[in-house]
């Protein structure tokens, strides 16, 4: 019908009923006036999706503005980059520990016996065109991903946006942090180089240390006593399918809740728990956020181009009797590594049964950190009894207790992170290692409360002059 009418207009036929947009289009053609390509796009959307009232509203979906709200977007975009680069890598990676003699272009390893997995990572890194770039983008964006998640979470904590009605979304975010960190660990374990193989050996030992179920859990999960020969093949589907699907699903739920509830906003003119002020999705927000996706991609690519990361060909293949010095995991596992190093040699013997010392820092401590993290919104309610709905954020500098708690927690993890590289620091500063270890052990216990108390005092002092006026 439409094309008939258009032809009718072009022929100049009379008596054809004209609609407004047909007339405009016809006139546009006649006078070479540009018509927007968005009009047919909008019509297509309605005719194929329906529900144009809903769509019309969502075009103007309001996003409050703040640089702080960009942090979660960084994490989201890192996930997208990881999926894209991960698909490329999966085309070449081979998850097998069967031995093979190296025949690639890296001469120092010529003829060396290695696993097929390590061989395929060397091939990606040194022989596949742009393979090294894609591998390094993948690794760098994983590092940025966890960093963005943590800073996003800190922002959420200090502004108390985890309160009702966003308790569930905080929980989803905390689970995401756990899964993303775990998948990062699995990811850098896949190349089967000396460093990652050593890391998996430690993971086996940690699993073994769990009371009652440890030994059985370790051999069942790792496919036998380490190294079982089938572990890489087992981690691979978890790394590229199971966990990414879980992360993607949780991210969808996280964003779905955000969309449905609208984003929180900082206090400002016209803003309240009832009224949201911000930029509309189309066009301003969509343009900006697409730009941010590309900028994050660009930054990760620039890192990958100019800053080498995880040069596995230098580490050599994993052989259980080899070892490297200055062996550090990726940064987001550093606190765990530090805790394991700081823990004194306390094995607990009960009758003939043993709880190895590594159980406390490697199993109990993560539990002690993640459990309160998961239930934080409910803990907050227990303390404050604040069950009301909040859409306006708190100013982080106005709540001494919350600020003190957060600062102490961050300090604790930071000391552990430093301890994770204590051998490197001892070497660089030329300090005796046992002395540095003792200092770090003391700091782990003493520094967090000091930082918390100082933060509490400072925030309360700063707050006073303007707290009374701002009410």
């Amino acid at each position: 019908m439409t094309s008939d009418r258009r032809r009718a207009i072009e022929r100049g036929a009379e008596g054809t009923p004209l609609r407004d947009h047909d007339l405009k289009r016809g006139l546009g053609r006649a006078f070479r006036v540009r018509t927007s390509p968005l009009r047919p796009a909008g019509r297509w959307l309605h005719t194929n999706l329906g529900g144009s009232k809903v769509l019309r509203d969502e075009l103007r979906h309001i996003f409050p503005d703040s640089w702080a709200f960009f942090l979660g977007e960084i994490a989201l975009y890192c996930f997208i980059i990881l999926v894209a680069t991960g698909i490329f890598l999966a085309l070449f990676f081979q998850a097998s520990e069967a031995p093979v003699l190296y025949e690639g272009s890296y001469t120092p390893l010529a003829g060396a016996e290695m696993s097929i997995a390590y061989d395929s990572v060397l091939q990606i890194s040194l022989d596949v065109p742009a393979g090294l770039l894609v591998r390094q983008v993948h690794h760098w964006s994983a590092l940025v991903f966890v960093a963005a998640l943590i800073i996003h979470m800190l922002r959420t904590f200090f502004t108390a946006s985890y309160r009702r009605p966003r308790r569930l979304n905080w929980l989803l975010g905390a689970i995401l942090l756990l899964l993303v960190g775990l998948n990062g660990l699995f990811g850098y374990s896949l190349p089967d180089d000396l460093l990652s193989g050593t890391g998996l050996r430690i993971a086996f030992s940690i699993t073994e240390s769990i009371p009652f179920v440890g030994p059985a859990l370790a051999t069942v999960l790792f496919g036998g006593e380490f190294p079982s020969g089938g572990l890489i093949a087992r981690i691979y589907p978890v790394h590229i399918f199971l966990l990414p699907a879980a992360i993607g699903g949780l991210l969808g739920a996280h964003l779905g809740l955000l969309w449905f509830q609208r984003h929180t906003q900082f206090p400002g003119p016209g803003r309240s728990d009832r009224t949201v002020v911000g930029t509309p999705l189309i066009p301003a927000y969509a343009l900006r956020t697409t730009g941010y996706l590309l900028i994050i991609s660009g930054v990760c690519t620039a890192f990958a181009a100019f800053v080498q990361i995880n040069p596995v060909w230098l580490y050599g293949p994993y052989r259980p009797w080899d070892a490297t010095t200055a062996a550090q995991p990726d940064w987001y596992m550093g606190w765990l590594e530090g805790a394991v190093r700081l823990m004194p040699a306390w094995d607990i013997q009960i009758g003939g049964l043993l709880i190895p010392g590594i159980f406390w820092p490697a199993v109990v401590l993560p539990g002690l950190i993640f459990t309160p993290l998961f239930v934080l919104p409910w803990l907050d309610w227990v303390v404050t009894r604040d069950g009301a709905f909040h859409n306006v954020l708190l100013q982080p500098g106005r709540h001494p207790a919350r600020a003190a708690l957060g600062a102490g927690f961050v300090t604790f993890l930071s000391v552990l992170l430093v301890a994770g590289a204590n051998d490197v620091f001892a070497f660089v500063w030329n300090w005796p290692q046992p002395l540095l270890l003792l200092i770090l052990q003391i700091l782990t216990i003493v520094l967090p409360p000091i930082v918390a108390v100082v933060t509490f005092a400072l925030v309360r002092t700063w707050d006073r002059p303007w707290a009374s006026t701002a009410g």
């Binding site: 509203d57 503005d65 031995p99 065109p129 770039l133 390094q136 009605p165 050593t198 050996r201 430690i202 086996f204 030992s205 073994e208 240390s209 179920v213 440890g214 059985a216 051999t219 069942v220 006593e225 190294p227 449905f260 609208r262 009832r274 949201v276 002020v277 930029t279 509309p280 066009p283 343009l287 900006r288 697409t290 730009g291 941010y292 900028i295 660009g298 690519t301 620039a302 990958a304 181009a305 100019f306 259980p320 009797w321 070892a323 062996a327 394991v340 190093r341 040699a345 094995d347 003939g352 049964l353 043993l354 709880i355 010392g357 590594i358 009301a388 709905f389 859409n391 051998d423 270890l437």
Partner: protein, 290 residues
């Protein structure tokens, strides 16, 4: 959705030159990327040009969007306002109960349903058993047996002449594969005569001052691969545990709590070292039924 546009009449336009510059950078970066890939240039060229293109396009869009955002601030209502929270949740609860109480009203059947689902979910746990073997004796035994000879990393048997006094090498059971080598690896040390005093009960384990300790760290299972011969300690590079080789490989610093197990050695007529037996205790990190 109610919507207000504060500056509806006034339309600003994005400054053309920064956006134009960004688009030009994108095109230039994309062309450079293709060329760099084609001539197989270095990682820095391929990645640098790609990053240039991505940043050019990204900055253009972000700049344009930011410019628009300035005069497109709108206001609307939150879908879940704080007022009437109690009333609304009560209304939802009532409605849910109205529609779904046909299920819960059949108390016995509903509980049975929940129970059945629970039993089914638990039953799926047995699939975990398909994943791997049970530990058996794999964690408490190694590749060492009575009479098994010590070989070096090339598989050559180690004779008394192969290792000078003060020396330190890694040794494995003869004929072991990579898997066996993992938990059977030992640090073989040859002490100066009179330097090493065996622990009681281990007097016959160190013929001619040859001593072998498990190289699997008792803390987290890394290879105790370093030997500081000045201090005569074995060092684990993973978490910096140190073991005193003159005193039964007792841990002297770091997080390891138990000594490295010692392998009972002997020397045959040809001068080749061999094991008297397997280790007398489990090697490596501790576990529950140690």
């Amino acid at each position: 959705m109610s919507e207000q546009r504060p500056d509806q009449g006034e339309r600003r336009h994005v400054a053309t030159w920064p956006a134009g510059l960004g688009i030009a950078a994108t095109v230039a970066g994309a062309v450079a990327f293709v060329v760099a890939f084609w001539v197989d240039a270095s990682n820095a060229w391929i990645g640098g040009s790609l990053a240039f293109a991505l940043l050019g396009l990204g900055l253009t869009l972000a700049y344009w969007g930011r410019d628009l955002a300035g005069d497109q601030v709108i206001a609307g209502r939150y879908p879940i306002p704080p007022e009437n929270t109690e009333d609304q949740s009560a209304a939802l609860a009532t409605q849910l109960d109205e529609h779904a109480s046909v299920l819960t009203r059949r108390g016995f059947l509903f509980k049975g349903l929940v129970f059945g689902i629970g039993v089914f979910a638990l039953s799926q746990v047995v699939l975990l058993g398909a994943l791997g073997p049970w530990p058996g004796d794999s964690l408490t035994t190694t590749g060492w047996r009575r009479g098994r000879r010590l070989v070096d990393s090339e598989g050559e048997p180690i004779t008394r002449d192969a290792l000078a006094t003060g020396g330190f090498i890694v040794a494995f059971p003869e004929g072991s594969d990579l898997h066996q080598r993992a938990d059977s690896q030992v640090a073989l040390l040859h002490f100066v005569n009179g330097e090493f005093t065996p622990l009681s009960g281990r007097e016959t384990w160190s013929p001619e001052d040859f001593v072998a300790y498990s190289r699997v760290c008792t803390h987290a299972g890394c290879s105790v691969a370093q030997y500081a011969d000045a201090d005569q300690v074995l060092l684990c590079p993973c978490h910096q545990s140190a073991f005193d080789v003159l005193n039964g490989a007792e841990p002297i610093s770091g997080p390891a709590a138990r000594p490295l197990p010692q392998l009972p050695l002997a020397i045959d007529d040809e001068g080749v070292l061999y094991a008297q037996s397997d280790f007398t205790e489990p090697v490596g990190p501790g576990f529950w039924n140690a």
